[in-house]
Amino acid sequence: MAGAPNREYKNSLVRWIEYRLPIFSLLDHTIGRDYPTPKNLNYWWSLGAVLTIALIIQIITGIFLAMYYVPTAEGAFDSVERIMRDVNSGWMIRYIHSNGAALFFAAVYIHILRGMYYGSYKRPRELLWFIGIIIFILMMATAFMGYVLPWGQMSFWAATVITNLFSAIPWVGDSITIWLWGGFSVGSATLQRFYSLHYVLPFVIFGATIVHIWAIHVHGPNNPKGISVKGPQDTIPYHPYFTTKYMVVFGIFFIALAFLVFYEPNYLNHSDQFKRANPLVTPANIVPEWYFLPFYAILRSIPDKLMGVVAFGGSLMILFILPWVDTSRVRSGAFRPVFKQFFWIFVADVILLGYIGSQPPAGALLIIGRLATVYYFAHFIIILPLVGWMERPKPLPESIAEPVLKGEGGQ
């Protein structure tokens, strides 16, 4: 941050390095003593740091898995089983990678919902929000391609279903699909390009994460009160306060990960993934990983293939207009009584979509899925602008440092 003091380091080696390459002050300004942080950040603000750790875990375990993985239609399934059985601690590395991906998504969903509840996307953090959405979409692409790599039944059929979406594009759809496959069906060529992209995209995500962190340091993080920092009395240094606070969450994250890895490593997996990919046998119900289910439900709720794809893409792209469809000038949902209710209904709607995505699309489920899809879009296009105009927000506190507020006293 501009204006922070240039610290004089005591250790002579540190001083020597710092004079030539100021990495110590960079760290101090980024996650250290010279990063003034709103003092009221709650635990939900730790998810950004958790996500960085999760990304690093995925990259490290992934590098080790890549040493043994064979990206061919003939060799992939058996090479994964070799990792599970014969490679030293291979089972642990792979279970950390597969369950780490699930927790990565759990954390990113909480992170996004935190941003939506506290209005973190609002001026002047619109670009920060955009970069976040781009990271989220890159994560989805990476996770999808990673799911294809073990070449189980669900891998193969998920790849078939998702790549087939491109064939809905008018006129050029079929050519694009064949171009994506590298052949006339999902096969070794598809697997190899997915492997290549699955390896490289995490580094793109890493780069985008650095831009995301850069962007957040321009105006500092939003905070639960949603009001801007007015002066030094509102902030405390990131280290040691938030480093120690977030370490607690890291610990909980690792406990959750260890529990999955050591006790329920296949709980989130599908039994069809233990059958080798077979282009001649279609699974009874093709389902993606749990973290794609709400979007999968939106995709399937539209009877027309092209419009389904448009709705699927739109359900992600609509996040970009959030800073403008939310017409309220108040950032934090804590001071917006009506918005708060609709926020939780939106969360319930997404969970309902997730359930519907996991079930065969028929009967009442199909109709409920369509209603839930309509509601998903209505939340952004109708509800948020109207609530922003009509709602009477609670009085905002004078500053972050002000301890007790008149407006909040009634609760």
Binding site: E81, T244, A258, F259, F274, L365
Partner: protein, 270 residues
Amino acid sequence: MIVLKTMTGLKLGSLRRMATAVVVAAGIVFTSGLSANAAEEAREYESHDWSFYGLFGTYDRASLQRGYRVYKDVCASCHSLRLISFRNLVEIGFTEDEAKGIASEFTVEDGPDAEGDMFERTARLSDRIPSPYRNDNEARSINNGALPPDLSLIVKARHGGPNYIFALLNGYSEEAPEDFHLTDGMTYNPYFAGAEIAMPEPLFEDAVEYGDGTTASVEQMAEDVTHFLAWASEPTLDRRHQLGFQVMIFLILLTGLFWIVKRRTWKDMH
């Protein structure tokens, strides 16, 4: 002001209505899901009390060895176990010599030799357990068109895991209901999807002779072979549970320490 208040009132009313709708919708979702399942899916099966369940669960070595006996004497005539090598049998409690002895009962194709010919030799510890068929086509032609699945991952590849396999193996005792149309060459089994299965009843009283004197009842053999196949699917489970306990204890203590450090750091910040 009045307009705003009315708006809030309206919002609350519509909110309540919306909440009711969501609850009703969830109810419909649930019940319709249940009825759909009842119509299509095979019979429910009970959860068995496996020794490898739970946080401290481990495989029962004696049961694994008996299970291998059942696999070899019964299942292996039709089903391969291609991910398991003879050396892996040491992990279920056979001594190295016993495992070598088991391997020596098999012959495998090797080669080419110096003259370029393939030859047969006695199996070694490093060999995979040979498949009963040369390829899937041979398997199908011998088995009336049906392909007996490889059993290496069968427990993980079936929804319901060991409970399903155990129920299926025990599910041959019932006669098909009179109105049930059984396809030629198929056998009735209520636990299999569609209730008819290409695999004929595999286990009969005393089909194998257990070395440890255990009575080879159908249920006992089904339990042992399921246990063995669960191990074949997930051979690292024992190590995983053991290491997991240590890791959990460490992480819980570490998180507790983090919590104390956080409390101390923030002591004066309120």
